[in-house]
Symmetry: C2
Subunit: 254 residues, 2 copies
DNA sequence: TTTTTTATGTGCGTTACCCCGCATAAGGGT
DNA sequence: ACCCTTATGCGGGGTAACGCACATAAAAAA
């Protein structure tokens, strides 16, 4: 029923970080890129294991998920084409305590660790971009922590929907309530109820594994402050990146 | 009653990161250090405001605290003499969304932003040390987020006590239950109850604003996995730092 | 189609925590 | 010694979320 667009391979510089690199820096890296699929549910990194690539995401969403011994889990942060997966490679920690799970299918350009490290060590643009991205990630993690602590499931769901939507070209996401519950670290029934209320209010519409956002402005009114904080910080990074990629200072959207 | 030791000013290299620097690197920075007191409850950085110093902590504990619009708060991470306050300075984010509050009085050597940035840009040892420390902070933040979500107040209190104890020379901390509640993001009464149970079990002993840990091994048995994860990751950093400062690979405490 | 799998709806008892108010006691200051 | 501030103890009512068990419905597979 939906129009099937033959998906062209997105170029590396669909990724905002790569887009912001100067051509010479980019061309030093580009020969070493591997284009990879990120199918739904696949894992880009397991907790504790050594990573040997970074992934520059061009489309799709990756969740950083922490899973505890008893199986309980919680999402720490999400990334889309504004970022990468694998920060521990340049942060020096060899491994991470979280898993990177594909929450919405997409693609990435994969770069072997040694090339990333080499470029990072040059101390040029990429280093600054990566650190800035990491800082945005930290903000997101803090906000998630505090939101987990103090806000009800429904508010958290709103936040989660908006953060996901910001990273997708459509207003529809492909995800079961069970998986959302895992991300938020709550019961599945809790998500069912919260989603029911949102549907009741006409903000969303869902059917088995699909959630469509009908009224984004209303969602933004209902969500807690946490979304705005993360978004604002993320945009601050994005503006910086955008201003670098255009060369001109451009329209200075505040 | 307690023996009053005339406190000598702790040298800069009581801080593990500074200790790990080579002498030449250290001496490039040391002329610019300012020794500062960190009195209990003071703030090293306010959320949203620009920082113009980093603080290399020599003793005491600093909490990174996030305070929401409605006043509710939660601790994101803690640092003692193993680290610094002010990572946003080199991460490129100018400001942070969290506040840095002194949880246990102590001291720090303060370095103006420009000197830190200059040294960081050299891409030498300090850069690696700072990034590694940041990575440890990220781990702590993730773990805090997930612990907030899934573990009861009593377990969180155990974790908090142990993390604090690890950063102090004594087994006694000077802190009211009210403040602990702010850190954990729970009600004060919740802390009172949990602390009561721990005292009942003979693990701790407290009186107005003082908590003494009597049986640390028992505390470690009662705490959730979250403590061990953070500790292990923190030690990984510390070992690396220690091996650098001694020059020799040293006793490889696992 | 029919069957099987998987996602969602619902109800109910339980629990940990919240919010509020107030009693009590422990220190610090004068 | 006193007061007075401030930390802690305690209770009662309310609620959001949990855990479990099961009904139903929607896809997917046969």
């Amino acid at each position: 029923m939906t129009t099937k667009v033959s998906a062209a391979r997105p170029p590396p510089r669909t990724n905002h970080l790569l887009a912001a690199l100067s051509d010479t820096d980019f061309e030093r890296l580009s020969p070493h890129f591997d284009y990879v699929d990120m199918p739904l549910g696949s894992s880009l990194s397991e907790s504790g294991s050594r990573m040997d690539h970074v992934y520059f995401i061009t489309d799709g969403i990756v969740s950083l998920l922490y899973v505890m011994e008893n199986g309980a889990s919680a999402e720490i942060a999400v990334t889309g084409n504004e970022g990468i997966v694998g920060i521990s490679l340049f942060m020096g920690g060899e491994s991470t305590t979280s898993r990177a799970i594909v929450q919405s299918e997409g693609h990435a350009y994969r770069l072997p660790a040694r090339f990333l490290r080499a470029e990072f060590e040059r101390g040029g643009e990429l280093q600054h971009l990566l650190l800035r991205f990491t800082q945005a990630l930290i903000t997101q993690m803090s906000q998630t922590a505090v939101c987990n602590r103090h806000h009800e499931v429904e508010l958290q769901l709103c936040r989660w929907l908006l953060l996901s939507l910001d990273r997708l070209p459509t207003n529809e996401l492909h995800m079961t309530q069970e998986l959302i519950a895992n991300m938020l670290g709550v019961r599945r029934e809790g998500v069912t109820e919260a989603a029911g209320r949102l549907q009741e209010a006409g903000l969303i519409e869902y059917r088995r594994g699909h959630i469509k956002v009908l009224d984004r402005p209303a969602l933004e009114k209902r969500v807690c402050e946490c979304y705005a904080v993360v978004k604002k910080e993320s945009d601050r990074l994005l503006n910086y990146v955008a201003s670098k990629s255009t060369g001109a200072s451009g329209s200075h959207v505040r």
